[in-house]
């Protein structure tokens, strides 16, 4: 339902909605929220992997969007603009969380970080998660948005403010790295 609502959006509709939100119409605020919240939340969850953080990031995204919507100039679509805020909020939040966690990590535990320990964890799900997390932030973002959440390169380009060619290149690099990391599972995709 929510995806249908999202997909049926038109630029004109968005413009009208923004005008109503700027005018202080609470129903318009709710409509904007309902239209985009699922996509923003899903992306936040994919990035955070934690329900509380995903909620926080989604809430912060909409709070910031409502605060700044008066300055929205329509240079990109409303969806792209909202996603830019969402990604920025989530990445900043995650960097902070990561910093805090790494500060608290005991030394012995820290030494094992980064090693893949393939033979110890044959499970595909676990290996996949490790492989994705070992990607650099820019590759991981593009991979998750494109291959997992189904965003187009145009959408990714607008959201991450990178050229479309760069988005494609990042995806290629991400897949190549994942292919190496998941080489043990080659029979599963070769067959």
């Amino acid at each position: 339902m929510e995806l249908a609502a999202y997909e049926s959006r038109s630029p004109v509709h968005d413009l009208q909605l923004i005008t109503r939100v700027v005018a202080g119409d609470p129903a318009a605020e709710r409509e904007l929220y309902v239209t985009y919240v699922d996509r923003i939340y899903r992306l936040a969850f994919r990035l955070a992997g934690d329900e509380e953080l995903a909620r926080d990031f989604t809430q912060a995204t909409f709070i910031r969007a409502f605060e700044k919507i008066g300055s929205f100039r329509g240079e990109s679509s409303l969806s792209t603009w909202l996603h830019s805020i969402g990604v920025s909020v989530a990445l900043n939040g995650l960097r902070k969380t990561k910093r805090l966690r790494s500060r608290e990590l005991p030394i012995e535990e820290g030494l094992t970080v980064g090693s893949t320990r393939m033979e110890a964890e044959p499970d595909l799900k676990v290996r996949m998660a490790r492989a994705i997390e070992s990607l650099s932030e820019k590759y991981r973002m593009v991979f998750l948005m494109h291959d997992v959440e189904g965003y187009t390169h145009e959408e990714i380009s607008g959201t991450l403010r990178i050229p479309i060619g760069t988005s494609k290149s990042h995806l290629f690099q991400a897949r190549s790295k994942l292919r190496v990391a998941l080489a043990d599972f080659a029979p599963e995709w070769v067959s």
């Binding site: 929510e2 939100v21 700027v22 202080g24 709710r30 929220y33 309902v34 919240v37 699922d38 939340y41 899903r42 969850f45 994919r46 990035l47 955070a48 992997g49 934690d50 329900e51 509380e52 995903a54 909620r55 926080d56 989604t58 809430q59 912060a60 909409f62 709070i63 910031r64 409502f66 605060e67 700044k68 919507i69 008066g70 300055s71 920025s88 900043n92 939040g93 902070k96 969380t97 910093r99 805090l100 966690r101 608290e104 595909l124 799900k125 996949m128 998660a129 994705i132 991979f143 998750l144 291959d147 997992v148 897949r175 994942l178 292919r179 998941l182 599972f185 599963e188 995709w189 070769v190």
Partner: protein
């Protein structure tokens, strides 16, 4: 061929990575958004607020504000400590009349307080400028408590910590009220950012780690004293800020009390308060973009 198969495999297998729940907590998040915005939107639609002007400050000013907060906190702490003790330093100093005390803390009446080479009182340690100011402030406080001359009160109507903070710059001039407010606001934002970091850490900690609880409690204790200072500062005059600081103070007290030997129900109470008050969301709303995690 193989590439296509690999892509299909990858897309399918990666769906399990951080898979979001089927149900999106729309209403809960909407309630939190409404609560946070009613607690104090910093920027109005299409408008320009003081928050945006804060964003124009560079990193240097930000660090300077943090240093200013530290200076204020340590100054007030030393002042309170010496005032609450038997104050041997004061008794060692020559007794002053209230007029002298006023002159020492009032830059309009007497600039010698900040003039290089002058001292606060004979026998006082020859510290830097800040030490002289502290000395003057402390003596004034003691005199105030002894005789309570009305002139002292009228000469320095602002709280002590504000007075000290305002006189700390070495420029030799009292900063304009706008600059003072900005410094407080920057200090406040820095403090809220720290609080957000603590609460994030609290929420992501391991539940069975007593050591971590102890570290968080120590951190919370530190923030608690700064929260109290901010509640006594002009920042708390903002009716939207005061409730936030009060909520934060309450939560910090709860975290401080957790350690040592806290039980899971104890921790659950703190987490419940955190959730109910929507404190994280309110904090994030209060912290301008680009100043997080600093």
């Amino acid at each position: 061929m193989s590439d296509e198969k690999f892509e299909e495999f990858l897309k399918s297998a990666a769906q399990s990575y951080n898979a979001p729940p089927a149900r999106v907590p729309r209403d809960e998040m909407w309630d939190a958004i409404k609560a946070a915005r009613s607690a104090g939107p910093r920027v109005v639609y299409g408008g320009v607020s003081h928050l945006r002007s804060e964003n124009r400050f560079g990193g240097k000013v930000w660090w300077a504000a943090a240093a200013a907060l530290l200076l204020v906190a340590s100054g007030v702490g030393i002042g309170r400590w010496t005032a609450s003790s038997d104050a041997p330093a004061v008794t060692a100093a020559r007794p002053m009349s209230p007029e002298t005390a006023i002159a020492r803390i009032d830059p309009i009446r007497d600039d010698t307080v900040r003039a290089p080479g002058t001292d606060a009182a004979p026998g006082a340690p020859s510290g830097g400028q800040g030490a002289r100011i502290e000395q003057g402030a402390r003596v004034a406080t003691t005199d105030d408590r002894r005789s309570s001359p009305s002139r002292v009160v009228t000469a320095a109507p602002t709280p002590d910590r504000a007075t000290i903070a305002d006189r700390a710059p070495a420029s030799g001039r009292t900063p304009p009220p706008g600059a003072r407010t900005s410094a407080y606001q920057l200090a406040e934002v820095n403090h809220l950012s720290q609080a957000e970091a603590l609460l994030t850490s609290f929420r992501t900690r391991s539940s069975a780690d007593q050591q971590q609880d102890a570290r968080l409690a120590a951190w919370a204790r530190e923030l608690l004293s700064n929260t109290r200072l901010l509640l006594d500062s002009p920042v708390a005059e903002d009716p939207r800020r005061r409730p936030l600081l009060q909520d934060l103070e309450l939560l910090l007290v709860q975290i401080v009390q957790l350690s040592p030997g806290s039980t899971p129900p104890d921790r659950e109470i703190v987490e419940k308060t955190l959730r109910q008050d929507q404190l994280m969301t309110k904090l994030r709303t209060a912290i301008p973009a680009g100043q997080r995690g600093s």
